[in-house]
């Protein structure tokens, strides 16, 4: 009986340890997760939910490149792994040199429990690029996704050719 009593505490300790491990697994699975797919040209690029920068001091933002005249399609997916539904206002803006130049999307998002919600929008470079593009300057736009209190940022890099594609008229003779 005494041996059983001693082992009982050992088994209880093991049960507590297993409980902690199960909480880590279960709690890690639960939550609201978002990922973003950016498609420019042929290859889509996805930022998974665990790849968003957490270091506010030295953040690293993902970027997508696009040629002038092209467009980038964004697909934002929110997965709700909770027992209650999730709702938030989503606003997507684009800014250049810390100045907001366009609102790409502004709408509420509601996702029922253990379901996924998806939003799509397109960024057309012709709408954001100035008419007189300077080929000696680089153009980087920040796309800011605000979902409730959460902010996600990605960079849209305009890929300029090394020289103007427009052929200048011949010099007069």
């Amino acid at each position: 009986m005494a041996v059983k009593h001693k082992n009982l505490y050992l088994y209880l300790a093991l049960a507590c340890f297993l409980g902690i491990i199960l909480i880590f697994i279960f709690d890690g699975y639960m939550g609201v997760y978002d990922n973003l797919t950016m498609t420019s040209g042929e290859f889509p690029q996805t930022i998974e939910s665990d790849r968003w920068p957490e270091d506010e001091k030295y953040p690293y933002y993902s970027s997508v490149g696009v040629h002038p005249g092209g467009s980038v399609t964004f697909t934002y997916e929110v997965e709700n792994r909770a027992f209650s539904h999730y709702s938030a206002d989503v606003e997507v803006t684009v800014s250049y040199e810390q100045e907001q130049i366009a609102v790409l999307l502004s709408q509420p998002l509601t996702v029922s429990s253990f379901d996924k919600g998806q939003l799509e929008w397109e960024l057309d470079t012709e709408e954001i690029l100035p008419e007189d593009i300077s080929y000696e300057q680089s153009y980087q736009y920040i796309v800011l996704i605000k979902r409730g209190e959460i902010e996600r940022r990605v960079i849209v890099q305009i890929i300029l050719p090394p020289y103007p594609t427009k052929i200048p008229p011949p010099l007069p003779r």
Partner: protein
Amino acid sequence: MKLEYVLYGFGILFCIAGVGYLAAEYVRYLSEIGKIASLLLTVGLFTCLGKYFEGLGW
């Protein structure tokens, strides 16, 4: 013989430090309820271990 015990002690300390570090990293992503439940289970774990070793005559 004593040197072996010193090495055991270092090994145990490194194990505890490693597990503690990993736990601290995981705890950052836990919800408030998960943190409290984990804390209670940790208290229960050490209590039961203490009782077990007490029963062994330590």
